[in-house]
């Protein structure tokens, strides 16, 4: 059986780190904070690996199926009998897989940051935020309750906010962290309402019970939820769709992706951890977590998910081709890859062979975490070296940064889907799943994989080949980052190279059964050839500095410009927020309050004053007029009471 203490400690150790460093770091642990954080996380990682081992190889498999365990469930907030927010731990294939991914990547980032952020003033703060993030992310993946996942969902959001805004005195960082938080918050609104709908329909917030009730058409809950409709869709559809909106926001799916490129304002290791490997895949994880509901109860929503994923994948890939900020390229690539995971889920079905998409998605999540973290950390090493994010300031770095170069290349090959690197295997499965279910998505995915290879190698060549910048020599710039920065690169490179050989379907599948992956060379040919084509195009264009890319850009004209400007989605958002939210709603509301509501109150006051001023003449000082009023009073009373009311 699961070891509760061990599992609970996995998230709690980083939390301890957060508290310790957050409260005392600034004053007392200025220098040792990095070590403390890293050691705690190392312990966490070991526990995670132990848990994974125990689960997959010792107790997890019951009668050939990986069971779901909920070893701990504490009531956190009781709403009504049966409906409560619980703090629990769920142990099933995906959560265990995520545990490993999160702790491992986080550990890498912790180690890497020891070198990358050395000497920073807010070093302890940084590590405490990392701790907070890791805790939240682990809490998210272990959540046994839909509200618990929401709680940690928000917490990762805020940790992401804090880490993006780590350089708080940089206006662009402040703007980026605000944007990231607000956009995801907007999506979370959907998530929240989705939770309300689902939990009300299911009469519970607990995942297992919820899934149980909402996937079998016999239960009363299912019937009621399916029967109540709003705008032509059932409550269940709305709930599931809104939950997906939340996932899409966090996973930067089109059109809620605009925060992700900006989020690159954060320190690069943070981008590697949060905005590449872990947090951004939370949306995928969420859909996977609720997959039975999506696939059984609301297949329509699943189709939407597929399309959103596919569109995101290709749009991001196209934009990535035009960007010059290396982190932004990686950001769009992340978005594109998450699009893959998302549509893989979208084309999947529940159970058995047809659940291939699910397995593929998770597999891709896993491999992507490795190579994308590697890419970011590599990019970080480059940035650390040249102090710039822009491709224009780079070139010919392969000699100066040999380890970085090799590991980066491995990662590029992995993401381009070149066998036998990790990306090949997972992408292969995804394409297969799409091929089996939705040809349109398959074609999009195929094209995207070609573009992916192209822009990744555009990046690679631009950084490491292209022009030789005379100012960059060992003498002027020194060596590449130290051991602590190189170790994670190497470890991740090993992962990126070898992770594909893990028989992932054996461990993770939609219903817990074993899913054997089979290779079909004929099927693999197309994507591999496309990928190689992309690589060679990039080689032709970018190996040496020349004017071919510029010519190509001009010949593409409008399309290039649109892609370069990210299809103007940012501008649309800006227009909406600035003109609609601020000018059309906020300003009138403030004006209304100041002038109408408040004005009304003041008006009452002023009217009283002016009446008071107006009637002062009554008190004329003339005693005879007083007598007239006296008589008038008598007469009026007499008339009223004798002639009118008598």
């Amino acid at each position: 059986m699961p070891n509760v203490t061990a599992i609970a400690l996995i998230p709690l150790l980083p939390l301890a780190g957060f508290l310790l460093l957050g409260l005392f770091g600034r004053k007392y642990l200025k220098n040792s904070s990095g070590i403390i954080g890293t050691v705690l996380l190392l312990a966490s990682t070991i526990l995670a690996l132990y848990t994974a081992y125990e689960y997959f190889f010792v107790y997890g498999k019951v009668a050939g199926v990986y069971e779901k365990f909920v070893p701990l469930q504490l009531t956190w907030l009781q709403f009504s009998p049966g409906v409560s927010i619980d703090m629990g731990l769920i142990i099933d294939p995906i959560s265990v897989m995520m545990l490993v991914v999160v702790t491992f990547i986080s550990l890498m980032v912790h180690i890497y940051s020891l070198g990358y952020l050395k000497g920073e003033e807010r070093f302890p703060t940084y590590y405490s935020f990392l701790g907070l993030f890791t805790f939240s992310m682990l809490g998210l993946v272990l959540a046994s309750n839909i509200f618990q996942i929401y709680i940690f969902w928000e917490l990762v959001g805020v940790s992401s906010f804090l880490l993006i805004g780590y350089y708080y005195d940089k206006p662009s960082a402040v703007a980026a962290c605000k944007k990231a938080f607000i956009v995801t918050r907007f999506a979370d609104l959907g998530f929240l309402i989705g939770i309300l709908i689902l939990s009300f329909s299911g009469g519970t917030l607990d995942f297992s019970t919820l899934i149980e009730r909402l996937t079998s058409p016999e239960t009363n809950e299912f019937k009621a939820a399916a029967a109540s409709t709003f705008l032509g869709a059932s409550a269940l559809t709305w709930g599931a769709a809104l939950v997906f909106v939340g996932g899409a926001g966090k996973s930067a799916m089109f059109p809620l992706h605009i925060w992700l490129p900006d989020a690159m304002e954060g320190p690069t290791p943070v981008s590697a951890l949060i905005h590449a490997a872990t947090m951004v895949v939370a949306g995928v994880f969420l859909v996977a977590r609720l997959f039975p509901i999506f696939s059984v109860a609301v297949p329509g929503v699943l189709e939407i998910i597929g399309w959103v994923g596919a569109i995101s994948a290709i749009v991001a890939a196209i934009i990535a081709c035009t960007q010059t900020d290396i982190k932004r390229v990686l950001a769009y690539s992340t978005m594109s890859q998450i699009g893959y995971m998302m549509f893989a889920l979208g084309v999947s079905k529940y159970g058995g062979e047809s659940g291939l998409g699910y397995t593929a998605s998770m597999f891709h999540l896993f491999t992507h975490a490795m190579f994308k973290a590697l890419l970011f950390l590599g990019a970080g090493a480059v940035i650390h070296y040249v102090h710039s994010n822009d491709m224009k300031d780079m070139g010919g770095l392969r000699k100066l940064l040999p380890i970085t170069h090799i590991t980066f290349l491995i990662a590029c090959l992995a993401i381009a889907g070149v066998p036998p690197f990790a990306g090949f295997f997972s992408k292969e499965e995804i394409l297969l799943a799409a091929y089996n279910n939705n040809m349109a998505i398959y074609w999009i995915a195929l094209i995207t994989s070609g573009i992916t290879a192209f822009y990744m190698f555009r990046l690679y060549f631009n950084i490491f080949w292209s022009k030789e910048l005379p100012s960059y020599t060992k003498a002027t710039k020194g060596k590449e980052g130290g051991f602590v920065m190189m170790l994670p690169l190497v470890l991740l490179a090993i992962g990126a190279a070898a992770a594909g050989f893990i028989p992932f379907g054996e461990f993770v599948s939609s219903d817990g059964t074993v899913l054997h992956s089979h290779f079909d060379l004929t099927f693999s040919a197309a994507p591999v050839i496309l990928g190689l084509a992309g690589i060679f195009t990039a080689l032709w264009l970018y190996k040496k500095q020349n004017d071919k890319p510029a010519k190509l850009a001009t010949s593409l004209g409008g399309i290039y410009k649109m892609a370069y400007n990210k299809f103007y989605i940012d501008e649309i958002y800006l227009f909406i927020t600035k003109n609609v939210l601020f000018n059309l709603i906020g300003r009138p509301a403030a004006w209304f309050d100041k002038n109408i509501v408040d004005g009304l109150m003041n008006l009452i006051g002023n009217i009283t004053q002016s009446i008071s001023e107006g009637i002062k003449k009554v008190q004329s000082g003339k005693v005879q007029q007083y007598a007239i009023y006296f008589l008038g009073g008598v007469i009026v009373l007499a008339v009223l009471f004798i002639y009118i009311w008598k």
């Binding site: 907030l77 708080y168 005195d169 206006p171 962290c177 907007f186 929240l192 509501v597 009304l600």
Partner: protein, 492 residues
């Protein structure tokens, strides 16, 4: 436990303050007194829990009943249920924090603390009263302190704001007065809440009296569109004054809306629930949008208070047990949060001498403690899990969703939309003040929080975290009490 201690102790402290000889004495007596109140509130809390744990399910505990104006059947009737205990805890937190942040008041120190303590006493008395007359007495008793606190120690257009506040609250009181008199005569000459809760008031009376009472108390708790005293009053008040106003006084209104209007006039509540919902949904969104355009930190918090308090009214209007529990949680949470917010604003203002968001920036560099607290309170305001605001809002949403018709659903969604807008304005405020580059060179020489400010902030942060991290205790406290109210509404 003798509840009269809760009135006696603040009164004694206030008198001791009046008799003390110098400023130091005044401050220390106030601090000790308020600490003692805090201890007392905790004692009450634990004794109350203990009683409940041992199976005492009487609705009101520690009841005391002395005849006061016996010819009018007015009694000094006290007792507490979970709601009162929670509110008393809140009050004691805010009082201590308020005393602490006012440590450097130079002008008329004695009077300041005297009024502050009097204000606290009024709140305690209000929350333990079970007689409408006494309740009204304690509600009104705070008018003088509020007016003087703003008018004498305030800033900006203080006279205008003080006047507006006093007059609008008086307007609310006038309606409440008529309402309770109506109840008094409709239920056979009794002001006693426990008796009235068993009395049957005819439908037509309920339909007249409920709006009077609800709107009356609503003015106190910034019911749209009668909230206009909030921005001006809060922004002009001295720091502790704003804390008390938003942290305690506004809660008096919410408590009254629930305990008096809704509980005693259930049919009226049902009749007008939809209007309450509409008004509070408007207040939530409209307050949030209006906040977005504010440039003064105090105005930001004041308008956001309108928005947040809207949640508690929304919860009441939803008339489900969970929603009402959530409404009460929101009151407690908002009380702590907004008090902390004002405290932080005060601390910043004391240093930078400006409250304009546009003039600050990068305070994090020199004021890490204050800035961190600002972060915490901002995040609490936008409903971050782990902090109190989240718990309360989610409970309200969950409760609201129990109403299945489209109207309630749409209102809930509208209210939920505010969490995005809240994020916008809170992050704007945070981004422009504590983050960003330092815009004023002189800020480089600022000193971080002093011990009293730290203590005040920590006390309130602990409160916020205690609710945010482990809401169970508050839930256990409020839910049974909310159930009693729901039983009455449901007609059992």
């Amino acid at each position: 436990m003798n509840l009269l201690l809760l009135i006696g102790l603040p009164l004694l402290t206030a008198v001791a303050v009046l008799l003390s000889r110098n400023k130091e004495q005044v401050k220390w007596i106030s601090l000790l007194g308020s600490m003692a109140q805090l201890a007392l509130a905790f004692m009450l809390f634990f004794i109350f829990r203990n009683e409940r744990a041992t199976g005492n399910v009487t609705q009101m505990l520690f009841e005391q009943n002395y005849p006061l104006f016996s010819s009018l059947n007015i009694n000094f009737h006290f007792g507490v249920d979970g709601i009162s205990v929670a509110m008393i805890l809140l009050t004691s937190f805010v009082v201590v924090a308020g005393v602490l942040v006012s440590w450097n008041i130079e002008k008329m120190t004695k009077e300041f603390y005297f009024l502050l303590l009097l204000l606290g006493m009024g709140a305690y008395g209000f929350f333990i009263s079970l007689d409408l007359f006494i309740l009204f007495f304690f509600l009104e008793i705070s008018v003088i302190p509020k007016y003087l606190l703003i008018g004498i120690w305030g800033s900006g257009r203080k006279e205008y704001s003080a006047n507006k506040l006093a007059l609008m609250l008086m307007g609310g009181s006038a309606l409440i007065l008529v309402g309770i008199l109506g109840l008094y005569f409709a239920a056979g000459r009794s002001f006693d809440i426990m008796e009235l809760s068993k009395a049957t008031v005819s439908l037509s009376y309920q339909h007249i009296l409920f709006p009077l009472l609800f709107v009356g108390f609503g003015v106190f708790t910034a019911l749209f569109p009668l909230h206009t005293w909030v921005p001006d009053g809060h922004s002009s008040a001295p720091t502790a004054g704003s804390m008390f106003l938003a942290g305690i006084s506004m809660k008096l209104g919410g408590y009254g809306c629930l305990r008096v209007a809704t509980y005693l006039l259930p049919e009226g509540a049902k009749e007008f629930a939809n209007i309450i919902i509409i008004l509070s949904a408007i207040a939530i969104l409209y307050g949030a949008f209006a906040t977005m355009m504010q440039k003064d930190l105090k105005y930001i918090n004041a308008y956001s208070s309108v928005s947040h308090v809207g949640f508690s009214l929304l919860g009441i209007g939803m008339l489900t047990q969970t929603a009402i529990t959530g409404a009460l949680m929101q009151m407690v949470s908002h009380g702590l949060m907004t008090a902390l917010f004002f405290a932080v604003i005060g601390m910043i203002y004391d240093r930078t001498h400006t409250r304009m968001v546009g003039e600050m920036g990068g305070l994090m560099k020199k004021l890490p403690f204050i800035s961190s607290v600002f972060f915490i309170v901002g995040l609490c305001s936008l409903g971050l899990p782990g902090l109190s605001g989240f718990v309360a809002e989610m409970t309200i949403f969950m409760g609201s969703w129990e109403n299945t018709d489209a109207f309630h659903r749409i209102a809930t969604i509208a209210a939920a939309m505010s969490i995005v807008v809240t994020a916008v304005y809170i992050l704007r405020a945070i981004g422009n003040t504590v983050m960003g580059p330092i815009r004023n060179e002189s800020y480089l020489s600022l000193k971080d929080a002093a011990w009293n400010e730290r203590l005040a902030a920590i006390i309130l942060v602990v409160g916020i975290l205690a609710i945010g991290i482990a809401p169970g205790w508050l839930n256990d406290l409020l839910r049974p009490a909310a159930e009693e109210i729901m039983n009455r509404i449901a007609g059992n």
